[in-house]
Symmetry: C2
Subunit: 428 residues, 2 copies
């Protein structure tokens, strides 16, 4: 979005009103926060019964395993089967871990770096450079991992139907390109979902690197904001059919379903990939917390139990997300100074402002007591080349605070746009 697209006259006519609104906003001394993709207390209450599960005398599995004792690196059969049903995948191809799928992603890259993965000719550390494809805007914590390992992050656009496949096909002709991040459903932060067509293209394309991997982070697989659940693609199965069984490392977790940071994470991949993972995971430790896994089995009951929980989340989150987009429409509609996503799921709304105004907007909001995620945070190295993208996270504050904060943020967006229009006029 560029300044030339803005309705400058209408915008400048608002100057006095917006300036007054902004002064008024600052005078309120707010302390609001739209930075974190964290569930609210009300959402966490949905999972409250987990705090006393599995419950005393409930520690023996169908196969006789005592979940209190050591052992079982793959996680307990019961949770793997339940989750496999949720995702529509074979239970044998999913491993259940501790709470964090990010932990597993980090380890997969770390171990590929040090030891090479099961298709590597050499450890990634022994490559002259490792390049990594990053659809943008994307998830900051993904980018932090590949940044930490010193990989060169190559950005491509994240479109409505997923990452730009034509751009990817070109990039993977380079054998130094070893992998790609993607959040396939209700993507962070745009809410876009990868179409079956794009998924199949990613699964079937030729890559110069035999050990190329796509980290398919299905963090929001069932995180609808409406009444409908998205189709979940069996990406590992699709890749196997396309003749590239080892292409995907697929992640998911219950973090934003039950308790954030105290849930269960899952890793779904080919048997070969899982066997390679197990080789190091069994050296790293004796296995995940099986007690917590059993607690989750008791809590959900079955796959439908997961969806039932997610409907409750949708009932809480949906109105917050709708408030954000309604306020943006009401305050900024028709001015040509911002475009935003209307996600049907996930945890974020992505806003593109006039080029060059994102950082200023965050600054203005901060001065008015509203914390926004740093501009550029959805880009590798936090560098948005157009300084225009903002990620809004309305999940954590109560409904009323979301509304107050967003109205304030809209004022800041307007204020920054007017400043930019004036500066552009002065420069003419």
């Amino acid at each position: 979005m560029k300044l030339t697209e803005a309705n400058t006259d209408r915008l400048l006519a608002l100057k006095d009103e917006v300036t007054a609104s902004y002064e008024e906003l600052k005078a309120r001394n707010l302390g609001l926060n739209l930075t974190r993709g964290k569930p609210s207390s009300e959402q966490l209450d949905i999972g409250e019964s987990l705090l006393s599960l599995p419950g005393e005398d409930d520690h023996t599995l169908a196969d006789g395993t005592d979940v209190r004792n050591y052992g079982g690196g793959d996680g307990i059969r019961e949770i793997r089967e339940l989750w496999a049903e949720v995702l529509g995948i074979p239970a044998d191809l999913v491993v259940a871990g501790d709470a964090s799928s990010l932990n597993i992603m980090f380890d997969l890259i770390s171990w590929s770096h040090t030891f090479g993965n099961n298709d590597s000719e050499r450890p990634w550390a022994a490559e002259e450079t490792v390049k990594w494809i990053c659809p943008v805007p994307g998830y900051d914590r993904h980018f932090s991992i590949t940044e930490t390992f010193g990989y060169e992050m190559v950005t491509i656009p994240m479109n409505e139907d997923g990452p730009d496949v034509d751009a990817i096909r070109e990039l993977v002709k380079d054998p130094q390109v070893k992998g790609m991040w993607v959040v396939p459903v209700f993507s962070n932060p745009t809410g876009a979902t990868v179409s079956r067509e794009v998924a199949e293209a990613l699964a079937s394309m030729e890559t110069a690197a035999p050990d190329f991997r796509i980290i398919w982070d299905n963090a929001y697989a069932v995180h609808t904001l409406t009444d409908e659940f998205p189709e979940i693609l069996d990406i590992v199965g699709i890749a196997a059919e396309a003749g590239n069984p080892n292409r995907f490392w697929a992640m998911s977790s219950t973090s934003k379903i039950t308790l954030a940071g105290a849930g269960v994470a899952f890793f779904n991949s080919s048997k070969e990939n899982l066997d390679w993972y197990r080789k190091y995971a069994t050296i790293r430790g004796i296995g995940p917390n099986k007690v917590n896994q059993l607690a989750h089995v008791r809590y959900f009951g079955n796959a439908e139990g997961v969806r039932s929980v997610m409907r409750k989340h949708s009932g809480i989150l949906g109105p917050k997300f709708r408030a954000v987009t309604e306020i943006l429409e009401k305050r900024l509609g028709g001015l040509g100074i911002a475009g935003w996503t209307h996600p049907a799921g996930g945890y974020f709304i992505s806003v593109d402002l006039l080029d060059g105004t994102a950082k200023r907007t965050v600054e203005l909001a901060k001065e008015a007591g509203i914390a926004l995620t740093g501009a550029g945070s959805a880009f590798p190295l936090k560098n948005d080349p157009n300084n225009r993208n903002l990620r809004l996270a309305p999940s954590l504050p109560p409904q009323e605070e979301v509304e107050v904060a967003m109205d304030g943020v809209a004022t800041c967006m307007l204020f920054a746009a007017i400043e930019a229009a004036e500066a552009a006029g002065a420069a003419e």
Copy 2:
């Protein structure tokens, strides 16, 4: 222990009796297992109430933190303080993680390997060779980690008062020597405890490598088999006083106190070391399971609660360990074919047999339906150069099974010794 030390005449006189005992043993078709350092069901029952803790409506900490949500990479203050009191260390210098201290040890080595630690001139991966000091007999899972990273493991004796300091002082003159494993209290498998004198020597010695680290795995800090608790040395404090504040990475966990594999692990070190660890840990994930940490706070109550729990374990484990040593004494005493430890804590008894007879003893036991840990498992690469050491783990089976199994094992030890004596006689 060598065959020349055996009372060969007395031993050979037992041949018919032992052969008959062994045949009788095989005929019983036992299915007993002394391989695993796992707690028994009876022990796990001590922690049963954890399965319903912290309990509904108990999720807010004194500082307002909601343990159900994301955040808090160091773990919750309450468990860090409780554990710091148990260990007699400052709470600020201890981080509480998920269940496994082994996970933390692996990561510390992995990140030193890839990135270098806070005192490294270069990543360990960039060194021509990395050498690692391994007191033997020692813990197989420690050795597996350094083996996985391709480090050259240099063995030194584990004495009654800890690892052989004179040998270590010589080795650390080599800048390629980057670290050392040690279990300082009720060591695995000998039960030896590092004396204050040895600890101070390790803390104060000069090392050629500035980034040399001792992994001080205090896995059995409070795991007494008697009425007495050992002194717990504040090794990080001792090292700071000696002018080497970053020397120790100290580990401990509740794995064999509450629930194995579902407890809380702790990492105690200097502020600089912890800050370096945090730098990567916060990229790897958002933090440990705080719900489980709060459950442990509620379960223990305070540091004395930990000791109270350990007395219950001692009440269960003590008789099993005493049965093992009593049976060994009764069956093998005076024959000069075996020496064994009399641990006052921990999970293992270490037995030295006649040179060359350990594997054969394990084989004989296996044929008789008694699983023993593979001979040599307490040595790097599972290579006991004398083929004489066995690690016995009596914790898991019920008391009666321990007694039956140990009587059988004693028979196998005798049988193997008689075979060896005969072979030696025939060779003369």
